[in-house]
Symmetry: C2
Subunit: 242 residues, 2 copies
DNA sequence: CGGAATGTTGAGCTGCTTCAATCGTCGTGG
DNA sequence: CCACGACGATTGAAGCAGCTCAACATTCCG
């Protein structure tokens, strides 16, 4: 049976701020169903104008853009709690594709309700804008990484960000996290070739800093990782959940 | 004397959608003043929580992030009509620095009014979210460029985007546009070294495709530029103006 | 068992970086 | 009025980080 918002498994996790009971009531109305998809399914397609919006509930996925000649840029990774389809929601069409890389369950919202949210739930509308600004922030950090850092720094940065978010989500513990992606996907996220990504991961493993094999990410030396990445260990700030 | 919103020089330009007279009235209240700064001034500082938000009125600038070791990523270029400080407005602090590269005039808004905008002007709040989603879209395109395209493609892509936006803003005409940046800034925007940027620009010049010298960008072969960039010639969509 | 998908490793090459020197322009102080 | 220094653009040269090509290993699944 579908989860209802009251007992949403994501509520209460460190990454998210609490909802008022009013907001919760609204969300129950806003949510129109649940969607389960297999690994490999395209949830939203670049250029399409889906009538639906989603929040990831279980599972992982990725957002990517394709260049005309087939090169792919992974824009980011989708984890539980991530809101999917904001662009289609406000701009009318998706600017990137969203694909499930594991089996996923998503909460479904009706796009047409977005406007009523702005009209009747200014707090929630504000939260939505907050999320958009947050996405922009993270994309900016990613751009700085891909534009300025070298291979080792990029990989370290990527693993670190993923791990810290996983921690706040309750998906990571004691340096261990399930991470169901392919090396090629990390490579396409960081602007590196697959071969170089593979070699860089190997080097991190040999240095006893972190290993990522068989879909399991193991961090042995978080500080060492942060040092290579050239960044701090700040945890992501709590954010609104839809 | 300060411009008022009615006779805002930006209204009516192709890039922007019209405001209703209601919205215009609100904007007049929302706007609390005007700010003129010299070239080189830092308008907003990464990590700060400015009580003010801005819309660029005249002049150009850039947004950038610094890595801990001093490397700089230019996140994008600021043109007239661009809204500055949304992140500080909703998230409480800026995630990048905004600097004027020419003398600039900016409309000033009070950050504390953002909330009243959500409360009383849902249409404008929606527009704000639209802008945030648009920024996210553009950052995603930039990320794809920096992550996937080679030097020549990146430069071509960058010049093309700038020129097309300039056209819609009335800042470019017949292939000519004033573009007051340094080569180092384009380099830092595209993740290339200054030297390589210089050489790539030279090659575009020698191929009679485009030249950018003495702050003047001249496009001789727009289609050729788009072909190198690996993208189309789509003009930016009209967007809300604040 | 065969084939497809993913990961791993070797080898050679090059696009881009880094270092460094030169040139032109411009504002400043003597 | 000229010398000086600062800054940005330009060009040469050398080196390497990361790419491409290619072969092989491993796992999984029908």
């Amino acid at each position: 049976m579908a989860t209802n918002c009251q007992n949403c498994p994501l509520r209460g996790r460190q990454l998210f701020v609490d909802l008022t009971s009013d907001e919760l009531d609204f969300m129950k109305e806003f949510k129109i169903g649940e969607l389960s998809v297999d690994a490999g399914t395209t949830v939203l397609l670049e250029g399409s104008s889906s009538p639906q919006l989603y929040t990831a509930l279980y599972g992982m996925g990725l957002r990517y853009k394709m260049l005309d000649d087939g090169r792919r840029q992974v824009v980011n990774f989708v984890f539980p709690g991530d809101f999917i389809g904001l662009q289609a929601g406000v701009m009318g069409e998706m600017q990137h594709t969203v694909e499930a890389t594991t089996n996923m369950t998503l909460c479904v919202f009706s796009r047409s309700e977005i406007w009523s949210l702005f009209k009747h739930q200014p707090e929630r509308a504000y939260d939505l804008t907050w999320l958009a600004a947050q996405e922009e922030h993270f994309l900016g950090e990613t751009l700085a990484t891909v534009g300025q850092r070298n291979g080792a720094e990029r990989i370290a940065w990527g693993l670190l960000k993923i791990y810290l978010k996983g921690e706040q989500l309750g998906l990571a513990k004691d340096g261990v996290m399930k991470l169901s992606y392919k090396q090629a996907e990390i490579a396409d996220a960081l602007g590196l070739s697959l071969v170089h990504t593979n070699r860089t991961l190997k080097s991190l493993r040999e240095k006893q800093i972190a290993a990522w094999q068989n879909d399991i990410l193991t961090i042995w030396d978080l500080e060492g990782l942060a040092k290579i990445a050239g960044t701090g260990l700040d945890r992501p700030k709590p954010r609104p959940l839809f």
